[in-house]
Structures are given as structure tokens and as C-alpha cells.
């Protein structure tokens, strides 16, 4: 049975609550201290945004034929929306950085203003996504702290 301290340590590692299914699957792995297996289970589905600067070329490449219309509509919106107006500058220069959380939030907020392009915005937001695995030594460190195994005084 996983102790509350072990459970808290693993939840702190992934920065979220673990589901009942995950806890069930983790139970034997923690019991056996299969830290490689624990890391693999906790890493499933984890992604992060790597440094990603995009511009018209990337958008057209990702959206295909819809990319041109999306950029046109974005530029048109910029005529009335000053934030979009200035955001077009880095987009045009190919340096709009999707790894900045605020940039992704701004882009996501455009769903409300560009209802025809909600799917396109969602697609653009996936650019630069990469796996964000938990390393097994992070698991070891967390569990060893929880279990008091980092040192042993004789």
C-alpha cells in the first residue's frame, strides 16, 4: 500500500493529482521500487512546448490551404484589434514564440474572435509540442525523500 508521503511525492513530481487508475497501476511498481517503470507510467501523455518561433511559412505548412485564409483573417482582425496588429509583426518576421505561455494564451483567446478558425488555432497551438518525460532519477529522489532513504546513519 502506497503511503500518503509516497503518493504526495509522486503527485508533486507531476504537479497534479493522480487518478485512481494511475494509483492502482503505480502500487506494485512503488512496492517493487521499479523507478524506471514508475517514470514511464508518470510520463505517459506529458508534453511541453519547446522553443518554437513561427511565422507565415510554418502556419501555411501546418494548416495547408486554410493557412492563407487564416493569416488573411488574422491581419484583418488586426485592423481593429491593436494587440493582434502588433502580434502580426513577429508573426510576419517568423519570430512569434509559442514557447512563451502568454503568447499561447493570447492565441488561444482569439478563438472567441475568430470562430471560423477555432480548429486552426488549436492546430497552431500544437506546434512545438514535445514529450516531457519524468526521469527515473527524479522518481528515485522523490520516493527516497518520502521513504527516508537518502542517508543511513550508523
Amino acid at each position: 500500500m502506497m503511503t500518503p508521503a509516497e503518493q504526495s511525492a509522486l503527485q508533486a513530481l507531476v504537479a497534479r493529482a493522480l487518478s485512481a487508475e494511475e494509483l492502482l497501476a503505480l502500487e506494485p511498481l512503488v512496492e517493487a521500487r521499479n523507478d524506471v517503470g514508475i517514470a514511464a507510467l508518470l510520463s505517459a501523455g506529458r508534453v511541453k512546448h519547446g522553443p518554437t518561433q513561427i511565422g507565415p511559412g510554418t502556419i501555411v505548412a501546418v494548416l495547408g490551404d486554410a493557412g492563407g485564409a487564416f493569416l488573411d483573417d488574422l491581419q484583418a482582425l488586426g485592423q481593429t484589434d491593436r494587440a493582434v496588429y502588433w502580434a502580426m509583426n513577429p508573426i510576419t518576421r517568423g519570430v512569434f514564440d509559442l514557447s512563451i505561455p502568454a503568447a499561447r494564451t493570447s492565441l488561444a483567446n482569439l478563438r472567441a474572435k475568430m470562430s471560423d478558425h477555432v480548429d486552426h488555432i488549436d492546430t497552431v497551438l500544437t506546434i512545438g509540442l514535445m514529450p516531457d518525460p519524468i526521469a527515473f532519477d527524479q522518481v528515485s529522489r522523490a520516493l527516497n525523500e518520502a521513504q527516508g532513504l537518502l542517508t543511513y546513519e550508523r
Binding site: R33, D35, V36, G37, L143, L149, T151, Y152, E153
Partner: protein
């Protein structure tokens, strides 16, 4: 040839741990009979070959390490050094290179110039798996002498 330097090893190994407790990846454990004074138990032989025999339940990472640390005792006649931690070996002695098998495996390394008197610890550095109950460590003292 007479007078040539030749290696001499002790007649038998000294057991520092006969059946160790489970040792999680990244954890440090002391060997049950792990206090070894080379001037007495080792007949003054300065070096020793360390041997670890163990059997993993789940295959560990190939070429990962299990390290041996020493905690020298009474270094100024009375005071002991700090017990090793996972992030601070008091004195690094050597490390075993692990194979990615679940069959029993035995590994060894030669350590030179051991502390006069110390407790010995095992650190599961990065195998990724728990070292199960039952691992054993022994040492065989070694020195050199002039050939008769």
C-alpha cells in the same frame, strides 16, 4: 625472480554484508558487518578487491552503477566522519558496473589505499531498479611484497 614485486592476496574473503536489505535506486545502505579495519582484520594489507553478488527482480539499466562509500572512523583518534549520503559520498571507494539481467550477477573492482578503519556503505546510484534483499559484499585484502 628473487626480489621482484609480486602481488599477495589474503587467503580468504571477509564478508561485509551477507544478505543486505532492499536498496532502492538512489538510496544508500550500510553493510551489516561493514566495519573493516585494515590494520587488524586486513593484516595491514592496504588494498582490497570488493565483490558484490546480487540478483535483480526487474532487469536494471545496463552499464549503470552501484557504488561503495566509506565512512572513516576515529580519524583523529576519537571523532568519526559523517555518514555518506546519496548526494555526498564521504569517501568514494569504487563502483560496480551492472548488467541488465535478472539472473544472479557478481561484480568486482580493486580499491587501493583503503581507510585505516571505516564503515562501508552501498549506494544504488542509477540502476533504475531496487536492489532486492539478499545482496552480499565481500572484500579480499591485497598487498605487494618482494618475491622470495
Amino acid at each position: 625472480m628473487s626480489g621482484e614485486i609480486i602481488e599477495v592476496r589474503a587467503a580468504s574473503a571477509i564478508v561485509l554484508e551477507g544478505s543486505g536489505s532492499a536498496l532502492a535506486n538512489g538510496a544508500v545502505g550500510v553493510m551489516t558487518s561493514g566495519r573493516y579495519a585494515k590494520q587488524s582484520a586486513g593484516n595491514g594489507f592496504p588494498d582490497a578487491q570488493f565483490a558484490l553478488t546480487c540478483q535483480f527482480s526487474v532487469a536494471p539499466i545496463k552499464n549503470s552503477f552501484i557504488a561503495v562509500y566509506a565512512r572513516p572512523m576515529a580519524v583523529d583518534g576519537s571523532n568519526n566522519t559523517q555518514a555518506p549520503e546519496a548526494t555526498r559520498p564521504t569517501r568514494f571507494i569504487g563502483q560496480f558496473v551492472v548488467n541488465d539481467v535478472t539472473a544472479q550477477q557478481t561484480m568486482e573492482f580493486m580499491a587501493n589505499d583503503l581507510p585505516w578503519d571505516a564503515w562501508y556503505y552501498l549506494h544504488n546510484v542509477n540502476t533504475g531498479q531496487q536492489l532486492p534483499v539478499g545482496w552480499a559484499v565481500s572484500i579480499t585484502p591485497r598487498t605487494f611484497k618482494a618475491a622470495p
